[in-house]
Subunit: 364 residues, 2 copies
């Protein structure tokens, strides 16, 4: 499994500069003032570079919702019991969860990857069975999993992403389901960035002050007991991470290796993206931050990754919901580049002065 | 015309509290943690209150792009010449402008309202002819228009919105086209709020420092010469406003009176919304701020209106582009409320503790 992951990491190349330049050069030809569509213009350029296409168009798109359970739930750090993880997976398969609603709106398919749910799940065309373990061990009392399990979970994410791409996906989104999974996410982010636990730990599904204090103490104990080594990301995810978080890293890596843009959902997905980035920094330009989560730890990750979220609507649901909404913005960016008239084509007079205003105007 | 506008203002009622409470009460029954979809939940509640429907669904939707010209362009305050206004209207009608691309993505129709373009425009099913004047007068040398013209322009916006609603629109978006129109927008906002001109004046389509300094001086001269009375909004729009800005106010008022939500686009639209608000404060809860514009004056307006934008992507194109993108968020909010499974329906165990976490968790 490790060699599988490492070969995918090695396959990630740089963005295509020629395609990016062509996309950038087209924007001032479109019937709008220079730079007036802001981040939509940057995004179209990024997609051009990822897909090696000067005027990219999106086809099918897939949200991969990675699911797993967490032994640490026994410490009383979540509003929900572990039985909710498999029940929500069934809800995803029935099409009734938040991610289903928003994916339908964005014209996306939802694939669920079971990489660690602590229950048996049925056969279903949208469910990929790659259970590495029936949940992790309680990370506040020892390692959450073995390193082999961590590699296997990342590989499962890679395989799920490749399956989606082989089936035609031109845009991937990450998602998560796992009761208790903000706890390993915060632990991983604290370990990988060196930030104090309290600065990267939030209220998850809505715990109160007392539970938050307990959650922070649990994570601090996990770090003290396990001593994860920030120089070895696989050590960090094995000791204090989660199976679905590892799988999300795999989705990021496979998307990048196959030149398919990956929209990263909220905090848990960002922790997975950070793991991917530490394994292969070349993954960074293939990632798009879908939304700014309410979870405070996400800010730290996005700063580390150099990503700015597309949407900020105080979401904290996970599942891929923020990524699905952001798909609409990515689609808008591509359509603008492809579908707008040019000044010449529309016979509209362009700016009086110059296509490219001076630096001070551009930085306005 | 004045009585027409005043009767619409008088017809605006409060939001339906019962429908809002029903919408709010449904959110914790849906298969997600309490409050986890943030502003999407607030938005669904607002739409419920506007439409008097506990579980609102959106049908047809329309962007009304109001177009007019500005005598002040002769002062050299824009990157584009006035011939671009009618040319862009033709571009809208041909479907090749930014607003067309984003409206298509959002499943919306674009109606163009000519309330003051300084050129003859053709017959077209998507163009409403209600020219009040062939552009305004140069507001830095005297009043931009008469009060009668201002009332007529607002009435034209009302009529266009009512036409769209009669044709089935369940969601309206405002938009603008008018070379030079950030200048009257800044002038109106300065006059109505008392903010210094420099704090509400930006670079429009991308002018440089020298042009920006001239633009500020032009607006200061306009205010000094015309002495608009902030206590009389119609005096402000007549002396230093624009015909399409007045029409946008009319769209806001008519949407509110007919209980149809109105998504306000960027800076010019926000200036129009502020005019509507000063004419009829009851319009406020019917408005949704589509996006945060790059234009600095918009912040001042949104603070005054108590609105928080849904999207922030550094856009400054106008036309209704930010409103069209925001339509997708409004749609998402309504679909979540209508389409998600309930805990009971999905047979998923809800939160362990309580549906409604304590205040400290909710404000997290």
């Amino acid at each position: 499994m490790r060699s599988r992951v490492e070969s995918v990491c090695a396959a990630i190349g740089p963005l295509d500069q020629a395609a990016m330049e062509a996309a950038r050069a087209r924007q001032p030809q479109l019937t709008k003032p220079w730079g007036s569509l802001g981040r939509l213009e940057d995004l179209a350029e990024q997609i051009a570079g990822i897909t090696r296409t000067p005027i990219p168009r999106l086809g099918a798109r897939t949200i991969i919702t990675c699911a797993g359970d967490h032994g640490v739930v026994e410490e009383g750090i979540s509003m929900f019991g572990p039985e909710t993880t498999p029940a929500m997976v069934l809800n995803f398969l029935a099409g009734g969860a938040g991610i289903n609603v928003l994916a339908r709106l964005a014209g996306a398919e939802v694939l669920v990857l079971d990489v660690g749910v602590a229950a048996d799940l049925p056969e279903h065309p949208h469910l990929i069975h790659r259970k590495v373990a029936r949940g992790t061990n309680n990370l506040s009392r020892g390692p959450a999993m073995t390193r082999d399990q961590a590699w296997a979970a990342i590989a499962a994410g890679i395989d799920a992403a490749e399956m989606a791409i082989d089936a035609g996906a031109t845009l991937l989104g990450t998602g998560d389901m796992g009761i208790g999974n903000t706890t390993p996410s915060s632990a991983m982010v604290a370990a990988l960035t060196g930030e104090p636990v309290a600065r990267v730990t939030g209220r998850g599904t809505g715990i109160d002050d007392a539970m938050l204090a307990r959650k922070i103490a649990v994570i601090e104990r996990a770090l003290a007991i396990n001593q994860p080594d920030p120089a070895h990301p696989i050590d960090v995810v094995a000791k204090v991470g989660g199976l679905e978080i590892a799988a999300i890293a795999g989705v990021c890596l496979a998307g990048a290796a196959r030149r398919v843009p990956v929209v990263v959902d909220g905090f848990i997905s960002s922790a997975g993206a950070l793991l991917a980035y530490r394994l292969a920094p070349a993954v960074q330009p293939y990632l798009i931050a879908g939304h700014a989560s309410v979870e405070i730890g996400q800010r730290v990750v996005l700063r580390e990754l150099g990503l700015q979220p597309l949407i900020s609507l105080d979401l904290r649901l996970g599942e891929g919901t923020g990524a699905a909404l952001a798909f609409l913005i990515v689609e808008a960016a591509c359509r603008i580049l492809a579908e707008m008239n040019t000044w010449e084509g529309a016979a509209v007079a362009g700016p009086l002065v110059a296509d490219r205003p001076s630096e001070d105007a551009r930085s306005a």
